[in-house]
């Protein structure tokens, strides 16, 4: 099954997705949560914005 990453529109294919499953987008590395499996829909998993640099 296919869905588009909400962040960068990359096509993400999953064979047996589970609701609530977390998957990482291969293009932009965003963490995505399966919010529905029929059809497959993905939403950005909440992650706090850690200050990664200076």
């Amino acid at each position: 099954m296919n869905a588009n990453c909400p962040e960068c529109d990359a096509v993400i294919t999953m064979d047996k997705p589970l609701k609530g499953e977390i998957v990482v987008c291969p293009d932009c590395g965003a963490e995505l949560e399966v919010t529905d499996t029929n059809p497959l829909t993905l939403a950005l998993a909440p992650e706090e914005e850690e200050d990664w640099g200076e």
């Binding site: 914005e49 990664w52 640099g53 200076e54």
Partner: protein, 343 residues
């Protein structure tokens, strides 16, 4: 005069202690640090070994004093500002908590409501070159953002001379060192990963934009921050389009006028030698702000450059300079170190 420092184990705190130890009119009473209570100050700041016997105390042991410096992580000072104000007639907060006058703008850039908005109006923005008179009469002063300070000094000479075409965008591309990130280690600051990296850690937005907009009134300002192989130091490269007809001579006049009465502002624009433009490397530990420019007459683009030490002019140096003004001491007291060369 007796001063105390809340949050003295960080890099800016350590720099502040170094400066205050060299200040003839000042005696440090207490330095607090929750994480290092009981340790000697030099254990956090090795350059201060045999310079002070002070040990870090706990916050709740804080006694009243004449002037209180606050060097806590962002967001902490605003929670207990009333408690601190009760301990000293004057305060200087090095964090970002009281730099912005407008609570709404604070929330926009720091993503949470300010915990003590009513105090914001009582703090003067602690950049002496911009608020000398206000500071002389002030009880409370904020610190300055290191990147904002470099960006401000790159724009002010042009803005004061009315040379900027405010219709055109202003781009400030800032190169920074690793000490801006503080002394908390992370994978990003792990030496094998950090050394030699050229890292665009804030390509489009950075909190310090808010200070530049507030202090210059210019709206069309766009920041970008890249960290390079450097510990101390900031170089701001500001790309500014000038009003039609602005010439190299106009720029010289503008920069000279700006630097004339400022003890710490130097113009660096030479035709020969290897130090032709401002370079933060030779400013480590000094309170100087080196400014310079180059004009591309064909396109009307001026590139205005500003170099400074983020821990000095961008933090502790400006704080001591502000203290000197607030307390009536000569402005340059304890800030005479001229930097090292070679380094």
């Amino acid at each position: 005069m007796r001063v105390s420092l809340v949050g003295g184990s960080g890099y800016a705190g350590g720099e502040l202690i170094r400066l205050l130890l060299g200040h003839p009119q000042v005696e440090i009473d207490q330095i607090t640090s929750e994480s290092r209570v009981g340790e000697y100050v030099y254990q956090a700041h090795p350059n201060l070994r045999k310079q002070t016997a002070l040990q870090f105390t706990a916050l709740d042991q804080l006694r009243p004093c004449d002037l209180l410096f606050l060097a806590l992580p962002h967001g902490e000072a605003q929670k207990r500002i009333a408690q601190f104000a009760a301990l000293a007639p004057r305060m200087i907060d090095l964090s970002a908590d009281f730099r912005l006058r407008d609570p709404a703008r604070y929330e926009q850039w720091y993503h949470k409501p300010h915990a003590a908005p009513e105090w914001l109006a009582q703090f003067v923005y602690g950049l002496p070159e911009l608020h000398r008179a206000d500071l002389q009469a002030a009880r409370y002063a904020s610190g300055v953002g290191c990147n904002a300070t470099a960006g401000l000094f790159a724009l002010l000479p042009l803005q004061r001379a009315g040379l900027i075409d405010t219709e055109k965008p202003i781009v400030i591309d800032i190169k920074v060192g690793s000490s801006e990130g503080g002394n908390a280690p992370s994978l990003a600051s792990h030496h094998p990963e950090r050394s030699g990296s050229v890292r665009s850690f804030a390509p489009t937005g950075h909190r310090h934009t808010a200070e530049i907009v507030q202090e210059t009134g210019l709206a069309n300002v766009h920041l970008s921050i890249t960290s390079v192989e450097l510990v101390r130091g900031v170089l701001a490269t500001a790309h500014v389009w000038l009003k039609a007809g602005a010439s190299e001579k106009d720029l010289w006049k503008a920069y000279r006028a700006f630097a004339k009465d400022e003890p710490f502002v130097r113009i660096v624009k030479d035709k020969t030698g290897i130090h032709r433009y401002p370079d933060p490397k030779i400013l480590a530990g000094a309170n100087f702000v080196d400014i310079g420019f180059e004009l591309d007459e064909a396109t009307g683009r001026a590139v205005s450059l500003c170099a400074l030490d983020n821990l000095m002019k961008g933090a502790a140096g400006s704080a001591v300079q502000a203290m000197n003004l607030m307390c009536g001491f000569p402005e340059t007291t304890a800030l005479g170190f001229s930097g090292l060369h070679p380094l």
